[in-house]
């Protein structure tokens, strides 16, 4: 008896509801559809919705709460000797029981109590699924019968179905808000727990980052340091390098495409540039780590420069390539929306095309271009895979692009990938970093969008 089976039964029941409702409506009108308030299939939908929505809701809630409830029941049924253990010990025990129940390898040896708890766990889960099946089937059939009983020629089925559909549409639009709320709440909540251990001042202004908290207190670096300034500096350095690449290339190609290129060239070059934005970032990361970084290191060696093989330069360069289309597309749009009259005025005064661009169009389009740069910077700051694969891990407070630096996103990944315990400062730090990342990119985006929109209004 599994989730898929329950879901399948539910779907079959709903479809059955549709046909039963439709045939019932026709029967109630004596076979003459014209006597019905709504067309027959609306009665079908009416019954199907009555049957499908409550059961689906119950199924969803049941699935979500089944595991925690079963685990709480198993936990409370454990012998007294386990009850006094602290939370982390308890989670370890529960983990073992879970593994034992699903037939995986456990960490310690299997004691009879553990085995009993695991058996209990399995039987509870089984009962739960069985109960779920019965409850859903019962409610589904009851709802079906109720809705079918309500069918009469004068039932305003279409209006009711449309009302239900409208509610579904509204719920779907609210999911977007729920996502944001979810992001903010999860980040804030976990960061709060982090800031209970480490003060925000130390986190935001500390100069040392070494999140490895040792297992034993007598090890070296046992305390761990959570000063995030080196990460912010590293992120900015790499973003700066990236913008030094993407800024000029993106802007100049946008100018060329908007002002000089004939339609045909524009039609081919623009999609080609967009390819750069469509390539997965992991590909760029591989390219940076495998080709660009060794190349730069070797070239640096020729000129007597000591370029690290995980240099900020390599990561920044490749990231710059990636964000070229972000700069060029938006700048292109912005330049195109500068009114033609400004250009004609300038030509009329005898200016050449490049003089017009430099003295008239660019100043006029400046806010939009600034907006596009800000969006590109926010992309660069939030970019993960390139830096994870090509930048370093060591927090290094430097402005030298030839050295290895680490970034906020790299640290989030390294802190959270692999084994993790959920109450250590180390893993919680990732959420605090995520919160900073979210806030900074959000601010950049809001400002950039406001600037671009304001600019658009000016010429519309």
């Amino acid at each position: 008896m599994s989730f898929t089976l329950v879901l399948g039964t539910l779907i079959v029941l709903t479809i059955a509801g549709f046909y039963l409702g439709r045939s019932r409506s026709l029967a109630s009108a004596g076979g003459a559809a014209s006597k019905l308030h709504s067309r027959p299939h609306y009665y079908g939908y009416f019954v199907a919705l009555w049957c499908g929505i409550p059961t689906l809701l119950i199924l969803g809630l049941w699935t979500v709460f089944q595991t925690p409830i079963v685990e709480a029941m198993v936990q409370s049924s454990l012998p007294d000797q386990f009850l006094n253990t602290d939370a982390s010990q308890m989670s370890l025990i529960m983990n073992d029981i879970r593994n034992l129940a699903s037939g995986n390898i456990t960490s310690g040896e299997i004691t009879p109590t553990m085995q009993a708890a695991a058996d209990h766990y399995v039987s509870l889960s089984r009962t739960s699924i069985l109960a779920q099946f019965v409850v859903i089937l019962a409610i589904g059939i009851a709802a079906l019968a109720y809705a079918r009983g309500k069918i009469a020629p004068q039932l305003r089925a279409r209006n009711q179905v449309e009302k239900a559909m409208m509610t579904i549409l509204i719920v779907c639009s609210i999911i977007a808000i729920l996502t944001t709320i979810g992001i903010v709440l999860s980040l804030v909540f976990e960061s709060w727990r982090f800031f209970e251990k480490i003060s925000p001042v130390e986190f935001l202004f500390g100069l040392e980052w070494s999140p490895q908290t040792a297992l034993r207190s007598d090890q070296v670096g046992a305390s761990g340091a959570f000063g995030a300034i080196p990460l912010f500096a590293g992120t900015l350095l790499i973003s700066l390098v990236a913008m030094c690449v993407a800024g000029p290339i993106g802007l100049l190609s946008a100018i060329y495409m908007a002002e000089y290129a004939p339609g045909k060239v524009r039609g081919t070059v623009k999609p080609l540039l967009e390819i750069l934005a469509g390539i997965p970032t992991v590909v760029y990361g591989f390219f940076a780590a495998l080709t660009v970084a060794p190349f730069l290191r070797d070239q640096g060696g020729l000129f007597g420069l000591d370029i690290s093989s995980e240099s900020a330069l390599a990561a920044g360069l490749v990231m710059g390539i990636m964000i070229i289309p972000f700069v060029s597309s938006l700048s292109d749009d912005v330049i195109n929306s500068v009114p033609q009259s400004l250009r004609e005025g300038s030509y009329g005064l005898g200016a050449t095309k490049s003089e017009t661009i430099k003295r008239v169009i660019l100043p006029a389009a400046l806010p939009g271009i600034v907006g596009s740069f800000m969006l590109a910077i926010s992309r660069a700051i939030g970019e993960t895979m390139i830096v994870v694969m090509a930048a370093g891990l060591g927090a290094n407070l430097t402005a030298n692009p030839f050295e290895a630096v680490t970034t906020v996103t790299v640290q989030i990944v390294t802190l959270l990938v692999g084994d993790q315990e959920f109450d250590s400062a180390k893993t919680l730090a990732a959420f605090a970093l995520g919160l900073v990342l979210f806030c900074v990119t959000l601010c950049l985006n809001i400002i950039a969008m406001a600037v671009v929109n304001k600019y658009r209004e000016q010429y519309d």
């Binding site: 449309e162 999911i175 469509g278 992991v282 590909v283 095309k353 490049s354 979210f438 959000l442």
Partner: protein, 448 residues
């Protein structure tokens, strides 16, 4: 008026007189010089633009040639053809043909002995070990599979193509060669000599690498394949599509067709635009905190991966769908309303079908984005080393881009080619999806 201002006026006057003179003599040398300069600046500026585009194109070309040139070798594999004698006294001495005995028999010994027979003069222990290193660890599994599949083979001598280990594969392809110092390479001179002898005898062949397309991940590069990751990607994309398409289209329909212009809808709109620009890794953090820690869903599962990616692609789909809905002219709506359709009927019977090509195009592009996404999946544990091909959306799995990341991280040199090959497969999926979107747009796009 101060002296300074007076002076300025004076020079201004001088300058304007000069300009007047210049205008009078239109072709004066000074103007010509100036014009030449200005035209030079003009063509320079134009050249900058062309240069910028050329540089960007260069990057694309370099990127693709690097990937393709380093990935192509992975599509061929080197095999060694050996006449393996399936000795009954090694496989099944009791003669019971009991499946358990057949599975656990020492096939390693059988394939190793066969190879050692080719070189009777190799006797010392270390040499024998060095010689058998030519064979992949997968060779004995292959024989095992053959025997358990068809026990009647026991006792016969059959010709089998067995995979060679990754280092010798690289040697055969010329990636490892004699020019590097013997101490720095993983194939020493003696092994190279043996391998060359085998080559002369014609037992070494290379062919299309089917292993790469049928296997899941493995520690042995020659046995590692992308099928597991591809299936994982398919499951993940399925979940993403099933969630994000209906939700995204419904949200777009509501916002575009029904929503009153009030504060709430305004907030939703701003919110969707902002969500589109939130770094993908933040969605990973959300998935970890909410789906895994709060709801207790399984880690590393396509279910959670698909849910996270669905949230991530939702804004893309909503924005594209709204644009498509907006493009349907109001006259269609008015005509339908005039015939007595309800607003919901107008949307479901007329507007939505007309907007569908645009909506599908946006959805495909959003799915292509999701297919290439790595960072949020790292957060929810899809980076585990998984040898099994996932069978359902709750099995631990990995996806193509994460497989690329895992292989790129691997120190084994043979994985470099495989990484590039996996990237090529991933990129062909993406190119296919984008081409589909373009075709769809071209074919069904209607200008009203």
């Amino acid at each position: 008026m101060t002296d300074a201002v007076m002076n300025e006026l004076h020079t201004d006057k001088n300058a304007s007189e000069q300009a007047a003179r210049d205008r009078a003599s239109h072709a004066s040398a000074a103007v010509k010089r100036g014009l030449k300069k200005r035209y030079a600046a003009e063509s320079r500026f134009r050249a900058y633009g062309i240069g910028a585009i050329a540089i960007a194109m260069c990057f694309i070309v370099i990127l693709f040639t690097t990937i393709i040139s380093s990935g192509l070798p992975a599509f061929t594999e080197t095999t060694i053809t050996l006449n393996v004698e399936l000795k009954e006294d090694v496989i099944d001495p009791a003669g019971t043909r009991d499946p358990a005995t057949l599975v656990n028999a020492n096939y390693r010994k059988i394939v190793f002995d066969t190879l050692l027979l080719e070189f009777p003069d190799v006797t010392s222990r270390t040499d024998r070990r060095a010689l058998t290193a030519i064979l992949s660890a997968g060779a004995s599994f292959q024989v095992q599979k053959m025997v358990t599949g068809d026990p009647s083979l026991i006792g016969q001598t059959i010709e089998i193509d067995l995979p060679v280990s990754a280092d010798f594969d690289l040697y055969h392809k010329g990636v490892i060669n004699k020019s590097t110092d013997e101490a720095d390479r993983r194939v020493d001179d003696k092994q190279m000599a043996w391998f060359d002898t085998l080559k002369e005898r014609g037992t070494i062949t290379s062919g299309f690498n089917t292993t790469f397309f049928t296997n899941a991940d493995s520690r042995e590069p020659e046995l590692a394949g992308i099928w597991g990751a591809t299936v994982g990607s398919l499951f993940t994309m399925l979940v993403t599509l099933l969630l994000s398409f209906p939700i995204g289209v419904s949200a777009a329909v509501y916002l575009e067709e029904f929503a009153p212009k009030n504060r709430l809808t305004q907030i939703i709109e701003v919110n969707i635009n902002n969500l589109a620009a939130v770094p993908s890794i933040v969605f990973g953090l959300l998935g970890l905190a909410v789906f895994i820690n709060f709801f207790g869903l399984p880690r590393s599962a396509p279910l959670v991966g698909g849910m996270v990616l669905a949230l991530m692609t939702l804004p893309t789909i909503i924005i594209a769908s709204r644009a498509a809905l907006k493009a349907v002219p109001p006259s269609i709506r008015e005509a339908a309303l005039g015939l007595g359709a309800s607003r919901m009927q107008v949307v479901t019977h007329h507007v939505l079908p007309l907007a569908m090509p645009g909506i599908l195009t946006g959805t495909i592009i959003g799915m292509a984005q999701a297919l290439g996404e790595t960072a949020p999946l790292l957060m929810i544990g899809m980076v585990a080393f998984i040898v099994d091909i996932p069978g359902s959306i709750t099995d631990p799995a990995t996806v193509l881009p994460v497989q690329v990341y895992l292989w790129a991280d691997s120190p084994e040199r043979a994985f470099v080619a495989r990484t590039s090959a996996a990237i090529m497969v991933l990129l062909s999926f993406l190119i296919f999806m984008n081409a589909l979107a373009v075709v769809l747009r071209k074919k069904f796009e209607r200008r009203w």
